[in-house]
Symmetry: C2
Subunit: 335 residues, 2 copies
């Protein structure tokens, strides 16, 4: 029997970064009560007392009366039928560690753009394996959507991905607002990987900008990133997907071009000569692409897809390769 | 018998705008002598005397000794075997009017991104019909390439398109430099239309930016522009083209995102409330997309491709439609 999400299912968000904060804001436009797991006590108390997240999207005001705030993951999970994961992939396992509540009868939504390190699997795969959640109880919410613009209520498009379009529609109704348009898809694999890969390509763009390459070259680099993304997906998991759609190409574009892109900013520092360590110190947020670059290279060892851009980023970030020499060599590989 | 370009064929450029100026600079990196037809006497005299174009890319210096400058189109055409057309499409017919020299035994290269108005055909088609030049003697040079970055010698990629890859390679050798990488294609139809359509989409992007839409929305709009472009080409002239390649998607990206894009700038003024007429007055250069918007709507009357973005731009520019209402309506059509 297929799992059907109940229209009245209560939602909870796990995480307190900028994207988690934006998702709570979005959900509260439609739901009377939203659970929110915030592990950090100071942040939790601040949200409870002032109705704002002191660290991210500080201008977004919440009515604490509509929030079920807790630093107990079990409590938050117990009271929700839909659990939205929005912590950086690199911290996902430690974030979920305190959980003893079973997830097998819940619907789990990943809003995470990354691979689970060590396991080298996507978040959907991890939730399935580790928590025995069947794939028809797992969904994805994907951009192109920088949280900062959600805070500003600028029109953005989210794609909801579930095994069945029916569940995707019910979930979509919970996040559709005046400033959020919702699209639907069933391509969990493709959209998870697209959102992982785009962060790597945004780092490549940042590196090129930092080295002084101009707009003409960036357009070539990003087009080739789109091709590389499309090639990876069609060679590893063929499907009738339209990779020009927002959840694939659009997500790559916003991450590569937007001033809000932390992955591009991280790459920019590398291109300007910062060491990987100093660039990380300068960033107050996690650049998912840094971890993704290593995971994808490991995953691709078996698959053998031709990925010159992801390889360049890996060589620069993990192998001490010179950014200028590596990008220079890459220029001969682009179409 | 197929026409083969002679490796030693002399080149001449027709036009003195920024792209024509950049092409002369590029050709001079490989050729000892380049013809240059400049109709305007003041500009011609300035180039002859000072070795710079007084109006565009003023920092680019030419050795007048390597230039065969003339305000006689016949003279320039007579002395060249390869004639590169680089005038705005809307002025192409008047630019070529003084020509009495036959072109039938020459190789004609179009570096123009537009439709010939009234005739509603591409430049390649016009050259073929009006000057009896067979299609195997017609080529295209396409970006993503803003002339301003050629002036700065920032690495850029050009795609050379000819009926045969052999001619494309010989032509490519004439424009390959340290800062110009060259790709090849035989898709004259597709690349001509891509370079026409992308200007319309860049105006759409400008309008949206002028209205206050953010990066998240732009990524969706541009992805949908790429889909619309791809749909137009596959429905009107199916072929095995890879529309992710630089000459299609890359050209759309640089025109949509670059600060050097005059089409985006033109749209921006419209979005901010300028009338079409005032926006045109403010621009010192032709925004090709303005003319393209009308031509494509006329061409599409018979073809009936679904083109909501091009339609929106047409309605705003030619039908007095409100930019905010029109973009608002469009948002419901995007994926």
């Amino acid at each position: 029997m297929a799992y059907n999400i109940d229209r009245n299912a209560r939602c909870a968000v796990v995480g307190h970064g900028s994207w988690a904060t934006a998702l709570v804001k979005i959900l509260l436009e439609n739901e009377r009560n939203v659970g929110w797991y915030i592990r950090n006590r100071d942040v939790l108390e601040h949200v409870r007392k002032h109705g704002t997240n002191p660290r991210y999207l500080r201008d977004v005001r919440f009515d604490p009366g509509s929030l079920h705030l807790s630093d107990s993951l079990d409590e938050v999970a117990r009271d929700a039928e839909i659990v939205v994961l929005a912590a950086p992939s690199v911290y996902l396992k430690t974030t979920l560690e305190p959980l003893t509540e079973p997830l097998g009868d819940k619907f789990i939504v990943s809003a995470i753009k990354g691979i689970v390190p060590d396991d080298l699997i996507t978040v959907a795969e991890y939730v399935n394996r580790r928590y025995d959640v069947p794939f028809d109880q797992i969904g994805i919410v994907s951009g192109p959507c920088h949280a900062e613009e959600v805070a500003l209520e600028r029109l953005s498009y989210l794609t909801v991905v579930c095994k069945t379009l029916e569940n995707s529609r019910i979930l979509g109704d919970k996040i559709r607002t005046d400033y959020i348009n919702v699209g639907h898809s069933t391509d969990i694999y493709g959209i998870e990987y697209a959102s992982v890969l785009k962060n790597i390509y945004a780092i490549a763009v940042g590196i090129a900008v930092g080295l002084g390459y101009g707009d003409n070259f960036l357009a070539v680099l990003i087009s080739n990133g789109a091709m590389e993304m499309s090639r990876f997906m069609s060679q590893t998991y063929p499907s009738n997907r339209n990779t020009f759609a927002s959840a694939y190409l659009g997500d790559l574009l916003v991450t590569s071009y937007s001033q809000f892109s932390r992955n591009r900013r991280f790459g920019l520092m590398i291109g300007k000569g910062y060491s990987v360590h100093s660039a990380q110190m300068e960033m107050s947020m996690v650049a998912e692409g840094y971890y993704a670059a290593e995971c994808i290279m490991k995953i691709n060892r078996q698959r053998g897809v031709d990925m010159p851009i992801a390889r360049m980023v890996y060589d620069v970030l993990y192998d001490g390769a010179s950014p200028s020499v590596s990008v220079g060599r890459l220029t001969g590989r682009l179409l």
